[in-house]
Amino acid sequence: MKKMKLIAGILVFGSLWGFSEVIIGSSLKDIGLPTGVIMTGVFAIFFLVFSRMIYRQPGMQLGMGLVAGGLRLFNPFVGCHLCSAIAIMVEGAIFELIWYKISFDFSELKTIIMQGSMGIISAYLIYIEGYIVTQIATPIAAGANFYLENLIVFLPNIFASGLIAALIGGVVLPVTLLAKKIDITVKDRLYYPTTIGLSVLCWFIVIGNWFLA
């Protein structure tokens, strides 16, 4: 039963993350905002940390990355669907690695400095990893050759652009942890209808949007 609850949690949080990447990310891009840093610094950090706080299960964020990446395959607004999907899947894995030594009750993150620091580290590493993965995967998926030299000369730009994501993450993570003080229990009889319903809604909107684009 506990395992089923976790799977439903992975499904709903992964779907919400994927939904935000596709729908909200595309809207932000349309109005000229730096989509990548906002998606990582705000949405990825929020969903990853919030879900870890509620479920306290290792591997959950990796699963969320797989679900979100799967949903992102249906994003009509990116050049390489597969590359973006792979990037987001790896983001989940990177988060698991960064947080491997952090306890599930966040006992290490009592001070605002620790919370902000973890936000900075997490957002920065997730952002630059996603950027690097797409730089490698895009030429390969396009049937062209991947040139390491092209990536190396562009690394300073990638490291530089991650700075804003890091700063946003440094603020978003402490704000997300404030939710620890809120009682967000869902009654058992409502848990599955809520999680499955929300997940289906996210997939329905994203796939519907894909067909309409």
């Binding site: 050049g79 620790m114 092209n150 890091a166």
Partner: protein
């Protein structure tokens, strides 16, 4: 050293890497009006006169510019299919393509290349150089 010391230090290192990289990118950015192709400098207007204009269909609709298939041989580059082409932007971004991709593209008046069948990551903008390898 405990986590309460390591984590803030790592965060500080991250900020230093991001900050110094930003400064490096700003300082090394090349800003010029011309495009260097195979060692020679050309303005976009000059290139427009030299090559035929072509319109291609991309994922973002129609894009019009100088046909690279027509332009490259006219720039004195023999055996275009024997080379690879590294297209470099002013911010350091670059993509290398083979002739099979290169010949399908156009160079627009805003110094950006478009290809009909590649992801947008190959559409290098603010071009400062096309290196022929």
């Amino acid at each position: 050293m405990g986590k309460e010391k390591i984590i803030p230090i790592l965060a500080l290192i991250v900020l230093i890497i991001g900050g110094t990289s930003s400064a490096y990118v700003y300082v090394t950015q090349i800003d010029k009006e011309t495009i260097s192709i195979n060692g020679n400098e050309y303005t976009v207007d000059q290139l427009s006169y030299m090559g035929e204009t072509k319109t291609i269909q991309t994922v973002e609709g129609e894009k019009t510019g100088v046909s690279l298939e027509d332009l490259i041989p006219k720039l004195g580059i023999g055996c275009p299919s024997c080379h690879e082409y590294t297209i470099k932007a002013k911010d350091g971004y670059q993509q290398t393509v083979e002739w099979e991709i290169m010949k399908t593209g156009v160079l627009s008046s805003i110094k950006k290349v478009y290809f009909p069948d590649t992801p947008k990551k190959f559409w290098v903008g603010d071009i400062v150089e096309i290196e022929v390898k």
